[in-house]
Symmetry: C2
Subunit: 596 residues, 2 copies
């Protein structure tokens, strides 16, 4: 695969690199006296220099002869230098940050490249919006490698998304020079049971000679996993047990070991390496989903490498998992992932190896971060109006919009029971009061009305249900982060507050809001597709923290309740979900009535 | 890179593979109860089954459910199964065998794929003849991956070859579906000193996203090696010291550790792994040049793996060096090099792991060898007449053709002194008798006349010189294997025998001949481009052995003297060489006169 993510293609600058290595031309930069983390041989080489020219590495070794007039010399005595860190699987949208602000947040932590799957924005606004994220990325030095979202919609027929991605769309994106593969193929049942649509999407990627990334979340590692791997799916980040990851690596798949904000699998899954003493070349560390407060408080790949070291992985092996292993997974190791001649000069300086303390970051031979702060200004990027104007409800929302008709004084209903910090939920029942011919929330039972409004194509479709588990006493919450279709989701104790929460988000172009007794207590505006904001990470982290406090004020003691709420419509997972088309039994994949 | 070397592209058969893995369709073959050499995790998995369909692996694990009506079951209890062996760098021409017969010789030794650099035939007949070798390969199950010869001619301006390969030719071949990269870039000075021709040839390969293979034969591992690696050259098989290979791997290059018939580097070079305890993912074992007697007597990659094990490499690590490591070097690990779902079913059965005893070989899911013999007949392939008619001298060769005029009774001349078993030679002097105005060989001094006739384009150019070191007492030898231009090379004690030797080869269309007192004592006909023969390996090995005996009869006690003779014209190496254009001082790269 030709790499489009470096400053210059190698063939344009190789004569120059050779001349610099030979000492017949001065280097742009020479780093002297470093302890070089050699991920090729799994060694630390003491007192090693590195010469850079044209954004690439010209020489590793003794570079005294590469220093000439105009060469910047960076003394690295006592410091470690390692290849820049790569995140092999990441949804930028989960950070709620624009790609530009995301880059500004992660680069100081040593991240130089991400393999991003813009699944969320693609569900809202399609591939044109993916192209906007790519444009946004271009104003940053971060290498934003795209994997084309493979499952848009995630559960066809059960929800309305803003876009549809078919095999022809996938084929088209494979000609984009920033697309390196296919995003996580979540439709593993489709692969296992020879569904044509799922297979064709994979086929178009394989035909283009690009990488198919996976998502196999079953504990089954026998015939199902084999059937999945046999389709050409190269990696998977869904292992939650050490034996899952071990089975995948034994079947030749790259095991992407995840440590995100919500899904913290590393402690368990890294045992596939630390306990089994296998060759670790197929192990890769990834973040998957990281929220702004995690980026601000803990970091990014530096944090995940640190976690691997804490769990007993040797530091050089851990760094291999975010450098050469990841680059080999994407067959980009000729360009990225090691400090060796000809490769992009993407370099992380570490003052402490075990603690992964990043002090300086170079991308394409340019210092882009010092002591935890970007040293470059980013040019502004404004998402086009059709991206920031993504609330297409097609009618006014009033308290009346939340009415659920029912006969009698009470009615038995199906209830979604959410579980704090878990992806799965339960189906339960409740008997609710009917007032004036309309079903009511019941705070005493902690059963709250939940409504999903389609917001992409003004279809007017609306799903009605009830949810248990948030514990709020009064008020309402709304969110346009509502996986995977990201319609407008509202939960509340009364129709007036629910309408206010919904209209608040319509006014802001999307986001998350908490309302009580006619007052907006908190709001995180996410005007970019209803998913992201172009404010800095620290500001977004503070806004989200404030929002969490407002949840607590109205009675919810859950940690990060907005994350749990966002999964209410996620119809690809058990047990009972609510989409804009209605209640879905996700074990049988059928619509079921609300009232029993 | 899309692999064209498997039975079917994955995207055509993946639905089928998934169905077989799931048990909803029967497998073509199931192997049961094997000890599986897992090169992904560096483990041996006991009692493992493997299911095959459409030439690919559908499942690894318990395959009982994959057995149906029509499934062939191969019981492998007590045996090891490993991925088929790959030879990462090989010149088939050195075996003197057609590709078909070469395949028949190596497949029973576990070789399923070769990365062949048809440098020799390309020097004689150009890319059209390379295409013929590719056609020849197609009648065999062997995966013959081509790297385009990069240095044709090897030393422009100092010899006449049959063809010239420039950047545009290289670019054209990069569109061939059996070309995976560029053959060894021997012109490392050209790369180091920014020669445009050499760099452009590399550039065209990089632009096509393919692999550039290297040849860096200097002991220098500092700025020169860095300059070479920085140009995008991914591997090198020219290490003769452990520290050379170690330096290359530290610089991110694949170190191809060579164990050929003539160049036996493994014992020394493998210490880069056994002593330094580094990550061995960049180590690959290759043969480079293997003569027919080696193939018959010792084997091929099985022999080289065995040698690595004998030198202290753990067997699974050694097998990684001819499977996954090689496949990753060529970025074809998604198709080849491991026993995992979706990969080509190229499988070697071993009855003894340490001794690498190959009992059965499958390629693309078909048993192609049992107990050391191919089980398939090969369709015939006839090279076209322009390939087998490659002796284009353009005039009759008579004793008169060998005359070297000189004045006086004696004359001082430059002499090439060959060294048995060495690639290098020495320049020395001798005073030779002049009879009838013509310089004579002098058997007492062991100084023999040597003549090179251009044989490609009837240019009539002829080089004259003298050689010391063969020790023959009477007679003459001729060869069309004469690196790298492969012109007609004759060495002898008298002009009559030299003319007979030359004319014998002209009659046979090339080869090697030994003549004494008007009689042909021995001849190995090599009618395919003057380099190869389509007889079986055992027959060719016997012919070559007989020829060696005839050398001994006329007084030469050297081992494999034809190999040493074939290097007389190799003008890219020191010190003094003779091409069809004359004597070349290979230290200064200038023509020098014969007579002092």
């Amino acid at each position: 695969m030709i790499n489009q993510f470096c400053h210059s293609p190698l063939w344009e600058v190789s004569r120059n690199l050779s001349a610099v290595a030979q000492g017949s031309k001065p280097a742009d930069i020479v780093i002297t006296g470093a302890r070089l983390v050699n991920v090729c041989t799994k060694e630390i080489l003491p007192d090693t220099d590195l010469a850079i020219s044209s954004g690439r590495i010209a020489l590793v070794g003794d570079a005294a002869h590469c220093i000439g007039e105009g060469t910047e010399v960076i003394r690295a005595e006592g410091q470690y230098i390692a290849p820049g860190f790569l995140d092999g699987h990441i949804h930028v949208e989960s950070s709620m940050l624009s790609v530009g602000e995301y880059a500004r947040a992660v680069i100081p932590h040593g991240t130089v490249g991400i393999y991003m799957d813009p699944h969320e924005i693609c569900n809202v606004l399609g591939l044109e919006a993916v192209a906007c994220m790519a444009e946004d990325a271009k104003r940053t030095p971060l290498k934003a490698m795209i994997t084309t979202p493979s499952c848009v919609p995630a559960v066809p027929g059960f929800e309305d998304t803003g876009a549809f991605i078919g095999p022809a769309d996938v084929a088209k994106t494979m000609t984009w020079n920033n697309v390196v593969g296919l995003g996580e193929m979540m439709n593993f049942p489709g692969i296992l049971y020879s569904d044509d649509h799922a297979h064709q999407i994979v086929d178009e990627t394989l035909k283009a000679g690009k990488i198919v990334t996976g998502h196999y979340s079953m504990p089954e590692t026998g015939k199902g996993l084999n059937a999945y791997a046999a389709a050409g799916i190269r990696c998977c980040h869904e292992s939650t047990r050490a034996e899952d990851a071990l089975a995948k690596m034994r079947l030749g798949m790259y095991a992407m070991i995840r440590e995100g904000s919500a899904w913290r699998d590393l402690q368990e899954v890294i045992r596939s390496i630390t306990q089994h003493k296998i060759d670790s070349r197929l192990a890769v560390l990834v973040s998957d989903d990281t929220h702004p407060h995690t980026l601000v408080a803990q970091g990014h790949m530096d944090h995940i490498v640190r976690r691997a070291i804490e769990e007993g992985v040797d530091p050089v092996t851990a760094i291999q998992m975010v450098t050469i292993n990841c680059a080999q997974c994407f067959q980009m190791d000729h360009e990225l992932g090691s400090l060796s001649p000809g490769k992009c000069a993407d370099i992380v300086f570490l003052s402490d190896l075990e603690k992964v303390k990043v002090t300086r970051v170079l991308i394409d031979g340019v210092v882009v971060s010092m002591d935890g702060r970007m040293t470059q200004e980013l040019a502004p990027y404004t998402y086009p109006a059709w991206v920031t104007d993504s609330m297409h409800i097609g009618r006014s929302i009033t308290p009346e919009s939340f009415a659920i008709e029912a006969a009698g004084d009470t009615a038995g209903v199906r209830v979604i029971e959410v579980l704090s910090g878990k992806v799965g939920n339960l189906e339960t029942n409740a008997v609710l009061p009917v007032v004036g011919g309309r079903l009511q929330s019941d705070v005493l039972q902690d059963v709250l009305k939940t409504v999903v409004f389609e917001r992409h194509h003004e279809t007017g479709t609306t799903g009605f249900g009830f949810v248990k588990g948030f514990g709020i006493q009064s008020g309402a919450m709304a969110s346009t982060v509502a996986h995977d279709a990201h319609n407008l989701l509202v939960v509340g104790t009364n129709d007036e507050d629910m309408a206010l929460a919904a209209n608040t988000l319509i006014r802001y172009g999307g986001g998350m809001a908490v309302v009580q007794e006619g007052k907006v207590l908190g709001c995180v505006p996410l005007p970019i597709a209803g998913l992201m904001n172009d404010k800095p990470a620290a500001e977004m982290a503070a806004l989200v923290a404030e929002l969490e406090e407002t949840w607590a004020k109205i009675g919810c003691t859950m940690v990060s309740p907005f994350m749990t709420m966002a999964l209410i419509p996620l119809a690809c997972l058990p047990a009972l979900r609510l989409t804009n088309r209605g209640l879905v039994d996700c074990n049988t994949f059928s619509f079921v009535p609300l009232i029993l």
